[in-house]
Symmetry: C2
Subunit: 770 residues, 2 copies
C-alpha cells in the first residue's frame, strides 16, 4: 500500500517527484474520453521506468496465443488493446540539453488530476545538468466534446538564464506493447509527413486492417522562432527553437487529432485528421477546453456522489465515477469496458463479465438509458459468435456460450478452467438484460434483441446440465464459479442458481413480449426455431429438479459440492506475511484450501436477495466473509452491500474502503499496471445499494438507507425510468428530491412515498431497519 | 494407421521409398545404445520433410518455461533433451551433383532394422538429375560395446557411368530443437577443426555447462583419391574425391565418437574423443561390429520373447524389447528413460512415472538386478529435490513430492492439473521399491536407500489427506488420477488406494529393516527424524479411516467421487469419426464426459489384485473397459493383463495388439514425433503378466498361463532372485525351464512345483483357470 496521493474533494494530487511512483502515477492520473485514453506519461523525454500507454477504443491486435500445452478448443489469438503511436510527445531542449526528469534536480513538482473538469496538469522547476533552471507547466485533456482531439498546453519559463529553448512536438509510431506474446510489433506506418506547422502519420495494424491517423499542429505565444520539420519512417516532428528571456514564459499549445477507421473511411482518414487538427488549433485552447469542461459538468450533474465529513472517501468515489466515465461514453455499441479501461495493457482491454455484473448497474443509474442499451446491444451483436463458440464445445440447437474475454465476440482466453468452465458469465449477461428491463421497462429492446439472447443462453444451460441418476437431480459438472480459487468443481451453488434463473427468466421475458406484441413474439419463435412445448417442458423440469449443495447442520448453501470436506480454517488464521495468498502460496495450495477469492455464494444472494430472509443472509455472510480473502477487486463491494443489508454498517464501511481506494492507495501493489476500472463500478454500488439500500422489487424503487458513523451526509443520483432522483442521507434523515419533475412513487424503509417537483420526501433515518 | 512395415521375425523392413513416410520411418528405424540415440535420418543430404534427431543421454537444456498464464509454483524451465550435432552426415556428390533422395528417381529402396544385431541398413538405386545412376548401401550401428562410438559403412557403385564421386563425411553443430520454446539455439561450438583424415568439434550447451566432443575418422577401400579438409564456425568436413569406375563399389567407413562431459573431464574431452575415433578406425568395422552384435546376443538371451504362429506379434514384441534396450543400458544411475527414448524431442526426454510403473517391471525381469537398482537410486538421489518441491507447495517435515517430469529432480511440467495434482506418481515410485524388493529381496537397498524415500513419500500422503468432518473420513481433494481426462477431482479411488498402501508399506519396510539390521534402522530413524509413535499413529488412523468412493447398487468402486453423476454412455456410443476424442472434442467436453483416457481404477486393481476376487475384478473390468478410450499408450496393456486375469483371452489379445504394434502401425498418427518407448514395457507386461499370468504373491513366483487362440506357442524369460527361468506355453502345455541351474520353487496354476537344471516342469495348459 502506497499513500502518495493527497486527499482533496475534486482533485487527485501528487506533490514531490519520486521516480519509484512514476508508473503508479501514470495509471492513477490517466485521461480518457471513451474514444481514446492516455496514461499520464510525460510529454518530454523520460529515461526512468515508465509504462508508455496510449490506447484507442476498439483498436486491437489478435496476438497469437501463447500456451505451454495446447488443449482442443483454445482460441487462436488473444485480442490485445494496442499501445498506439505516441501523440503527446514534446521533447524539450534547453541550450541543447534534453529535459529529462530522471536526470534533473526537481523542485515544487505537483501533478493534479482535476476530476471536475477532466484535466491533467503538472508543474515543476527543474535544474538541468547544465545548471539551467526552468519552470514548467503542462496541462492536457482529451476532449469529451470532440473525442478525436487531445490538447496539450506546455509552458516553459527560464528561471536563471536567458537562452535557447527548443520545443519538439512530435508523433512517434515506433511503439510496442509490453505484454506482446511474442515480442512482435503490431503497427506499421503507411504514411508519414511534416511541414512547417504540422506533422502527421497514418498507422495501420498488421492485422486486422485497422487504420489510425494522427495529425498535430500547434500555436506558440511568441512571434520569433525558427522551425525545422522532419520525419523518418515512424516519427514526425516540428522543431521550434526560441531565444528565451529569463522569467518570460513560452507556451506551446499542441493540438492533436486521432482518427480511427472505426469512424472514418480508410481513404480519407488522414486528410480528415489533418483538417480536424487545424480546426482545433483555430478554435484554440480555451474554447476547446470550455466545451470539454461543459461535458464533464453534465456528467457530474447526473452521476456525482457527495460525501460530507470524509474527504478521503469523497475523493475516492469521485475518482471511481470519473474513471468510469473516461472509459465509456456509451455512444457506440461496438465498444465496451475493459477491466483496466485505457490505463494499462493488462487483460487486453477486452470485455469480461465485469461489464454486465458491475458496470451496467452503474451506468443504468447514472447515465442516459441509451448508454446501457448500447452495452446490451454489443452482446446481441455477438450472439452468432457465442452460438458458434458453444458449437465448438459440442452444444447444438442455437445454444450460446458467451466468451470469458472478447473483443469481437470470439473467445480470447486460454486457461481451460476459465475459458471453458467459468460459464456463469452467461448468467450475468442474461441478468443484465433483466436489470435493464426492470430499470427502464424498455420492452422494445426485449422483443427486438433481449429475448433472442435469453433463449440462446437458456438453451446452453439446458444442455449443460446433466441428470444424475444417483442424485435423481439435475447437476452441473465441471465449472469454475465466480470464486476462481476453485476450478472444475461440481454443482457450484451460484452457477446452478443463475442457470435455473436464466431458464425461468427466458420464459418470463418471452411471455412479456407475447403480451406486449404478438407479432414480435411470433417473429422470435420463428427466428430462434423455439419449440415452445418441448423446450419449456424440459426447462421446467430442470428448474424443478436442480440440485443445490446444502448442509443441513449448518443450514447453509455450499459454494460447491464437497466444500465442507475441506479443512475449515478462517482468513484470520492466515499469517499476515502469507497474504495475499495468491502471491505467497502455490496454486494447488490455494485450490485445496477453503479460501475464497471473491464473492460466490454471496454473489448469488446479492442477485437473488428477495428469496432469502435476513437471518439466512446473515448466516451466509458470516460463514463466507470469514473465508473470503477478497483477492479480486470485484469482491469487497458485494460483501459491503450485503453487510449493509444485514445492518453491519461498520463491516460495510470497512469493505467499502477496501474497494473505494484500491487504486489510489495501491492496496495490492499492482496499480503500475493500470487501474481496476470495472470494479470501480462496484464502489458506486457499495454506496448506492449498500448504504443507500437501493433496490428494485416488483418494478418499484426502494431505498433503505444507512450511513457510516463518520459521515455527516452523503447523496447520490439515480436514473430510474428516465426520472432523475437525488437521495440525501444524513445522520438524522433521508431526503428524496426529483430533478426531472415527474412524480415518482417509491418505497423508503417500506413506506410508500411520492416525490415530485413540489414535494421532496423527508423521513428520519432508521438505523436498525433490517 | 499406416501399414508400411513388412512383417518379419527379427527385422523391421521397409520396401520402396515414400517421402510421406520418411519422418515415421526415421522414428521406427531409430538406433540407440543407452548413451546416445539417432533417428533414422539419412547420411546424405535430404531436402524432403525430416525430423533431424541425435540425442545424448543426460544432456539437456533448461528451456525457459512458456505458459499463457503463470501460476505460483510453476517451474522456471522445462528440461529438454537436446537435438545434438549431426555426426552421421556424409554428403555425396556424383559428378558434382548432390545426392538427395527427394530429388532422385529411386529403385529397390529397402531399409532394414536388424534387431538381432542392432544394425540399420539401407540400400537403393538412385538416378540423379544428371542421369547418373548409382547403387547405395549404407549400414550403421551405435556400439553397445563401446557406447561412445557410432560407425557407418557407406558404399556407392556407379551403375551406368564411370566418373567422379565425392564423399563428404562431416560433423555439423548448427543444430536446433524443433520444439524449442522460444526458437533459441541451445548449442555453442567451442572448438572445431579438421585435418586430412579427421575432423572434430567440441560443443557446449548454453546452460548448464555440458560439453560434448565429436570426432570422426574414416577408411576408404581405394588408394587413389584427393582430400580437402575444411571447417567453419560450426561444421567440419573431409572431402574425398574419387574417380570411380562403373560397377566398382567404393566403401567409406566413418568412425565417430561422441564423448560427453558426463563421463570425461572437460579439459581432456576433445582429445579423448579424437583418440577413441582413431582407435575405433584401427580396430575396424568388422571387429567393432562383432563386439556390438555379441552384446545384443547377450541381451536377447535374457529378454527375448518367442511367439510361434503369429509373425506380426513376434515382430512387434521384439521391436518393443529392442527399443527398450536401446534406450536404457542400466549402468548409470544418473540416467533414466524418457517416454520417447532417443527417438524424438517430445516429452523432453525427461523422466515420468512411466519408468516406475512400466519400465521397472520389464527390466526387473529381463535384465541384471543392478539395472533396476540404478533406476531406483536415480530417484533416491532426487529425494532432497522432491522434499524441496513439496516444501514449495506448502508441505513440511521432510514430506516429498516427486516431480511429474524431471531431468535433475526438479519439476519441469507446467500444467497445474498435472504438475500439482497428478500426485499418484509418488505412489508409483514407492510401489517400484516394493516391486524391486519382492523380486530381489535386496534388503541392503531397502535400508540404505529405499526406506528413506518411502518415509518421505508417506509423509507427503499423510499431509495431503484432510479429515472431512462431514464424512468422518480422510479424503484427498483436488487430484488428477492416472486418467488425465479428469482434473482436480476429489477422492480419486486409485490415488486414495495407493496413498494408503504407501503409508502401510513405509511402516512395513521400516520394520523389515529393523529385523534385518537394527543399526541401519536407527540410522534411518535418526536421519529422517522419524517420530515413530506419533507418525505411525497418524498414518494408521489414515489407513483405517480413508474414504473410498463406492456405489452400493453397482457394487463398484468409483473412479472418483461423483463419477456416476456423469452421463453414463459407452465408448461404443461414440461415432467413429469422433475418435480419438482428444483430437475431435474440446477439452471441456472430454472432461465432462465419463470417458476414461487410461486405466485408473483398473490400474489400482492391477497393482493390488490380491485384494479382489475374480468376480469383483470382472465387474470392474466390464464397467470401466467399456468407458475407456485408451488414448494413452500406457492403457491397453493394463487392461490386457486384467482381461487375461478374468479369462477373457480374446479381449486380452485385442488389447495386446493395440499396444504391441502401436508404433509399427502408427495407430494414432503420431509416430513421426518419436516412438512410445516407455509404454513398450507394457507390451512385454501384457504377455508375461497377461497371457503368462506371472505374479509374485508372498514372495513366491506364480504363473497361470493362457494363450491366444491363434498362437502355436510362446515363451519368455524371467529373472527372479537372480534365477533365469524360461516359460514356454503352447496350446496344450506349460513348460518351465531354469537357465541358472539353481532350484526354484514356484506355483503354476496353484500347483507348487520345483524346477532345476535336471528337471523342467511340464504341466497341461488350463484354459479356464480363473
Amino acid at each position: 500500500m502506497i499513500k502518495h496521493i493527497k486527499s482533496n474533494e475534486w482533485n487527485i494530487i501528487e506533490e514531490g517527484f519520486n521516480p519509484d511512483y512514476q508508473e503508479i502515477s501514470e495509471s492513477v492520473f490517466s485521461l480518457g474520453n471513451g474514444r481514446m485514453g492516455q496514461r499520464a506519461n510525460f510529454e518530454e523525454s523520460y529515461s526512468g521506468k515508465s509504462l508508455q500507454g496510449s490506447y484507442i477504443a476498439g483498436i486491437f491486435y489478435p496476438d497469437k496465443t501463447k500456451v505451454g500445452w495446447w488443449k482442443n478448443g483454445y482460441p487462436e489469438y488473444f485480442a490485445k488493446v494496442l499501445n498506439s503511436p505516441n501523440w503527446i510527445g514534446i521533447d524539450i531542449k534547453v541550450e541543447g540539453l534534453t529535459l529529462d526528469l530522471f536526470k534533473c534536480k526537481i523542485e515544487n513538482f505537483r501533478r493534479i488530476l482535476d476530476m471536475k473538469q477532466g484535466i491533467l496538469s503538472r508543474s515543476f522547476i527543474a535544474t538541468l545538468e547544465n545548471d539551467k533552471k526552468i519552470k514548467v507547466d503542462a496541462i492536457r485533456f482529451l476532449s469529451m466534446e470532440n473525442p478525436d482531439c487531445g490538447i496539450i498546453r506546455y509552458s516553459i519559463t527560464p528561471v536563471n538564464f536567458s537562452g535557447k529553448v527548443t520545443f519538439i512536438p512530435y508523433i512517434d509510431g515506433d511503439i510496442k506493447n509490453r505484454d506482446a506474446n511474442w515480442d512482435e510489433k503490431f503497427w506499421e506506418i503507411s504514411e508519414i509527413g511534416s511541414n512547417k506547422n504540422e506533422a502527421w502519420l497514418l498507422s495501420k495494424t498488421k492485422k486486422p486492417d485497422f487504420r489510425v491517423a494522427f495529425a498535430m499542429c500547434w500555436n506558440i505565444n511568441v512571434s520569433e522562432y525558427s522551425i525545422n520539420s522532419s520525419h523518418n519512417a515512424s516519427r514526425c516532428e516540428n522543431r521550434i527553437e526560441i531565444d528565451c528571456k529569463k522569467d518570460e514564459t513560452i507556451t506551446l499549445d499542441k493540438f492533436v487529432t486521432v482518427c480511427s477507421s472505426l469512424y472514418y473511411e480508410h481513404k480519407k482518414i488522414l486528410e480528415i485528421a489533418r483538417l480536424k487538427a487545424e480546426k482545433s488549433k483555430q478554435t484554440g485552447f480555451e474554447k476547446m477546453f470550455g466545451a470539454h469542461a461543459a461535458r464533464w459538468d453534465a456528467i457530474w450533474r447526473q452521476s456525482d456522489i457527495k460525501i460530507k465529513g470524509d474527504i478521503s472517501a469523497q475523493q475516492a468515489i469521485r475518482f471511481n465515477i470519473f474513471q468510469l466515465n473516461q472509459t465509456y461514453r456509451g455512444d457506440d455499441e461496438r465498444l465496451n469496458i475493459g477491466p483496466k479501461g485505457f490505463t494499462g495493457e493488462k487483460y487486453g482491454g477486452s470485455t469480461y463479465w465485469d461489464t454486465e455484473a458491475y458496470c451496467i448497474p452503474f451506468f443504468i443509474s447514472t447515465a442516459p438509458q441509451q448508454v446501457t442499451r448500447n452495452l446490451l446491444i454489443y452482446r446481441y451483436k455477438h450472439l452468432q459468435k457465442a452460438i458458434e463458440n458453444a458449437k465448438k464445445l459440442g452444444f447444438s440447437n442455437g445454444a450460446a456460450l458467451y466468451p470469458m474475454v472478447t473483443m469481437t465476440g470470439e473467445e480470447c482466453h486460454n486457461e481451460w478452467e476459465i475459458t471453458f468452465e467459468e460459464i456463469h458469465r452467461n448468467g450475468a449477461i442474461a441478468f443484465a438484460i433483466y436489470n435493464y428491463i426492470r430499470n427502464t421497462n424498455d420492452l422494445k429492446y426485449l422483443g427486438e434483441y433481449g429475448v433472442e439472447v435469453l433463449i440462446a443462453i437458456a438453451r446452453f444451460w439446458a444442455q449443460r446440465t446433466t441428470f444424475s441418476n444417483e442424485k435423481q437431480k439435475f447437476v452441473i459438472l465441471g465449472v469454475t464459479g465466480p470464486n476462481e480459487y476453485e476450478n472444475n468443481v461440481n454443482n457450484n451453488w451460484y452457477t446452478n442458481k443463475i442457470a435455473v434463473w436464466c431458464l425461468k427468466y427466458a420464459m418470463e421475458a418471452l411471455e412479456k413480449v407475447k403480451v406486449s406484441s404478438l407479432k414480435m413474439y411470433h417473429k422470435i419463435i420463428e427466428k430462434t426455431n423455439f419449440d415452445i412445448e418441448k423446450e419449456s417442458a424440459e426447462w421446467n423440469k430442470i428448474i424443478e429438479y436442480m440440485y443445490f449443495p446444502y448442509n443441513a447442520d449448518l443450514d447453509l448453501f455450499l459454494q460447491q459440492e464437497g466444500y465442507l470436506d475441506k479443512e475449515q480454517i478462517l482468513v484470520s488464521d492466515i499469517p499476515v506475511n502469507q497474504r495475499p495468498i495468491n502471491q505467497n502460496w502455490s496454486w494447488d495450495r490455494i485450490l485445496r484450501s477453503c479460501f475464497i477469492k471473491q464473492a460466490d455464494v454471496l454473489q448469488g444472494i446479492y442477485l437473488f436477495e428477495d428469496e432469502f430472509d435476513t437471518d439466512t443472509i446473515r448466516r451466509h455472510f458470516d460463514f463466507y466473509e470469514s473465508r473470503t480473502v477478497h483477492e479480486s477487486s470485484l469482491s469487497p463491494c458485494v460483501h459491503a452491500i450485503i453487510a449493509a443489508r444485514i445492518g453491519n454498517i461498520n463491516k460495510a464501511y470497512e469493505l467499502y474502503l477496501r474497494t473505494a481506494r484500491l487504486d489510489l492507495d495501491d492496496y495490492n501493489n499492482e496499480v503500475h499496471e493500470g487501474l481496476h476500472v470495472t470494479s470501480m463500478a462496484g464502489t458506486w454500488m457499495a454506496i448506492v445499494e449498500g448504504f443507500g439500500g437501493k433496490r428494485i422489487i416488483n418494478n418499484m424503487l426502494h431505498f433503505n438507507p444507512s450511513i457510516p458513523a463518520n459521515w455527516e451526509e452523503y447523496s447520490f443520483m439515480i436514473n430510474f425510468n428516465d426520472n432523475i432522483l437525488e437521495i440525501r442521507v444524513s445522520q438524522s434523515q433521508v431526503e428524496i428530491i426529483t430533478h426531472t419533475g415527474r412524480e415518482v412513487v417509491l418505497f423508503v424503509y417500506d413506506n410508500l412515498v411520492t416525490v415530485n417537483s413540489l414535494h421532496n420526501v423527508v423521513l428520519p433515518l432508521q438505523s436498525g431497519f433490517y
